[in-house]
């Protein structure tokens, strides 16, 4: 192809959120010629929306905290389906990853002793989230962005990768994509490619995720021969905005509850006390009095049930609304106004104050918020080696939300930002190491030409549907049929819809030309969204139990045999094939942690 911009690197990182930038910084520091390719402008990635903080057992507020406690909390939050080694590395390395951010300019809130302050969050035994008010994600992205710029790493902004390229031996040798601005094609040749593309939320109607979350990384990996693990586990964050309709799904940080906010139904009752599962009963307060005492004396009281892991709280809210005890717009009430004075709320939750005032005309220091579950995070993702973040395809790495295993069936709040840093760095190290000992084979001209042809196909057709219609139908189907509560019957209906949409996508048409054309961009994103939706639905049908972010009305409760099984997705032509795989077994010394502190 002549009309093609070509570049050669040691390491190409796809995605410029926390994981991508951390990977790029590490690869660069290991001496690799590194490029970052991202769909938006630098500094706009979804990480920017993370609010609460970075979980790390630094012990600045509770010296009793340590990696073993963080490891235990993470595994229990994930209902023991996490890859134990990822959870261990994550808990052990997170404190150092936070400290080094300070060397790059991050300014966290402080303790009275001048150390990094740590806040409470759901599922964490001790206050351990390093934070900056409620805009921690912005601090993280800006710090990594500025470090990336200071190091002079090449960044290809507003470029979308449509295909991973592989050599004859099946190993990665590059990536192909287009510049959003001009529509022109670009090929990067590199022996190591790191996927750091985030999640899948744009397949759902009500989501906290931005347009970038099309599951493209999951889909590209699958097509290149990688495996996806446990795609059925999708986290519905319990507190998204519900009103007005245009902001439905936008995140309301868990810090509201960590800082004392409580959930109430239409009768004014703190209903979470009615939803404490046996699994967490020993560590959860039974009365409002005890729960309230916990905020000031954590050693002698148990945690409020509002701070149970997200899957528990989201299901409880869903049940209250279904039982007719919801708020006027179909959520429940989140009240911090009656619990703290206005100054405290504005200081601790400045962006929530701002968000509700600007978008909903609600003053959260004076009245309760209306909140309900919103699609927030996918625990499932590319199956990787814990030490290196390597996928099964040689030369392919995955870190952050696009990778699977770390969070089991449910992620604790605060564990995402730390995950990005820990495994972003590990992916960068391993990607650079591979590049130092191997070179990329020449790109296949045939493959590149075919990738270009496929990308332009929507322009060639006439009279087809517009991509926005198909997208809306997919979002509605996933929301209604593979949402927070699932049944075999509904999942089968969703799979039928997905098959029908797969056919319609082949016939859609786009108007206009290649220059900054959102209709064309969406047309190319849709096959990815359909592929990950198929993975989620098929895996959800396969797993006949309820656990974490996967609730089957027809199979309530967890089942022992499923507690030792992962569901693996692979590509089978244009379809998705499933298999079951035993969960890696935790060594005895780690298993003991659960007996000691249970």
């Amino acid at each position: 192809m002549t009309d093609l911009e070509r570049h050669t690197y040691d390491v190409v990182v796809i995605g410029a959120g926390g994981a991508g930038l951390r990977a790029a910084i590490e690869a660069h520091e290991q001496g690799a010629r590194t490029a970052v390719v991202c769909k938006s402008l630098l500094g706009k990635a979804h990480t920017v929306m993370a609010e609460g903080g970075i979980a790390a057992a630094m012990g600045n507020v509770y010296p009793e905290d340590g990696w073993q406690v963080h490891f235990r909390d993470t595994m229990r939050g994930g209902k023991m389906l996490n890859h134990w080694r990822m959870a261990q590395l994550h808990a052990q390395e997170a404190p150092d990853r936070v400290r080094e951010l300070e060397d790059w300019g991050a300014l966290f809130d402080r303790t009275p002793e001048g150390l990094i302050s740590q806040r409470d969050f759901g599922g964490h035994r001790y206050a351990r989230l390093a934070h900056v008010g409620d805009r921690t994600g912005l601090e993280l992205i800006r710090t990594l962005q500025q470090r990336t710029v200071a190091l002079g790493i090449d960044v290809y902004m507003e470029c979308t990768v449509t295909r991973l390229l592989t050599g004859e031996d099946g190993s990665i040798n590059g990536a192909f994509g287009y510049r959003r601005e001009s529509g022109r094609f670009v090929a990067w040749q590199a022996p190591s490619v790191v996927l750091a593309t985030g999640g899948i939320g744009k397949s759902y109607k009500v989501t906290s995720n931005s347009w970038e979350y099309t599951g493209d990384g999951h889909s590209l990996a699958l097509q290149a021969g990688a495996t996806l693990v446990n795609m059925e586990f999708v986290q519905f964050h319990p507190t998204g905005m519900v009103w007005p309709p245009s902001v439905r799904g936008i995140l309301v940080t868990e810090s509201v509850r960590g800082d004392g906010g409580v959930l109430k139904n239409s009768t004014g009752s703190r209903f979470m006390f009615d939803y404490i599962p046996d699994y967490f009963r020993k560590e959860t307060a039974e009365t409002e009095e005890e729960a309230d005492r916990w905020y000031v004396d954590k050693k002698n009281n148990r945690r409020p049930p509002e701070l149970l892991p997200r899957d528990e709280v989201a299901r409880a809210i869903n049940s209250e609304v279904k039982a007719g005890r919801g708020s006027p717009h179909g959520g429940v009430f989140l009240d911090i106004a009656s619990r703290h004075d206005a100054d405290y709320i504005k200081k601790r939750l400045p962006s929530m104050y701002h968000q509700f005032k600007e978008l909903a005309e609600v003053d959260i220091t004076a009245e309760a918020m209306e909140v309900g579950p919103t699609c927030h995070y996918v625990m499932g993702g590319v199956e990787v080696d814990p030490e290196t973040a390597a996928a099964v395809v040689p030369g392919l790495y995955a870190a952050g939300e696009v990778a699977g295993g770390m969070h089991g069936s449910n992620r604790l709040g605060g564990n995402s930002l730390s995950d990005l840093l820990v495994f972003g760095r590990r992916a960068g190290t391993a990607a650079a190491a591979r590049a130092s000992s191997s070179t990329a084979s020449a790109l296949s001209e045939e493959e590149v030409t075919e990738a270009a042809r496929a990308a332009l196909a929507p322009f060639e057709r006439e009279g087809g549907e517009n991509p926005y219609t198909i997208h809306q139908e997919l979002q509605q189907a996933m929301n209604d049929l593979v949402g927070i509560i699932r049944t075999a019957e509904e999942i089968r209906q969703a799979l039928e819809r997905i098959e029908e949409l797969k056919v319609r996508v082949q016939a859609l048409t786009v108007e206009g030309h290649r220059q900054y054309n959102p209709g064309w961009h969406l047309a190319l994103d849709l096959p990815h969204m359909l592929r990950v939706s198929e993975c989620i639905a098929k895996a959800a049908l396969e797993r006949e139990e309820s656990r974490g972010g996967h609730t089957r009305d027809d199979f309530p409760g967890p089942r022992e045999e499923w507690g030792a099984l992962n569901v693996i997705c692979t590509a089978d032509g244009q379809d998705v094939a499933l298999s079951r795989q035993p969960l890696p077994v935790m060594p005895a010394d780690l298993a003991q942690i659960f007996e000691e502190t249970a």
Binding site: K44, V48, L138, E212
Partner: protein, 250 residues
Amino acid sequence: MSYEAKLRVWRGDDSGGELKDFTVTVNEGEVVLDILHRLQATQTPDLAVRWNCKAGKCGSCSAEINGRPRLLCLTRMGTFAEDEVITVTPMRTFPVIRDLVTDVGFNYEKAAQVVPFTPRERDADGNHRMQQIDVERSQEFRKCIECFLCQDVCHVIRDHEDNKAAFSGPRLFIRAAELDMHPLDTRTDRAAFVREEQGVGLCNITKCCTEVCPESIKITDNAIIPMKERVVDRRYVPLTWLGSTIRRRR
């Protein structure tokens, strides 16, 4: 509840363009970005507009609404009368790529010129210690979401393309102030950088940048004026000058 709004949206590219009239349905609580998305889905699938978070946190959807620099996601339709014609145009200070999307590369080039953060050593136990009151000054500037509306509104570059080479603009002044006030930063030449490299002297403190900031950062009062005063301190206050001259002689 719903009504039909009249919108005029600039459509075109670097070779030119024009305002086009549209009638679009508006529902309760919607913001201008919702209406542009409805336009894309129903009338103009190729309408170019940047956005990400739709919650005022990422600073992607900057444009001008009725001539005022605004975030499309934070501008509620309810702030306009139902019969008012709402005009949406791209940011004027930056070259148009297509429709409402502009080339904001200027800001990234200026950011790359900033002398990087240069921290002091950690304490012996591996931690940095800072007091909350000392980090808050820089934290205010780190709230910046890089929407570049302050850059867009700044008349030094909005009306004078030729100033762009010598002038970094408010976004980069607060970046310099943030580093200057950062408790861990060891560089002592931040004020000189603002004067000599960033061209703060061209700013005549009209506070337009502060007015448009969606994060309510007091750009002029808390960053630009203190940095200008530091520049003056260093350079012209006679005692400082005498002191540095004497030290230099030794």
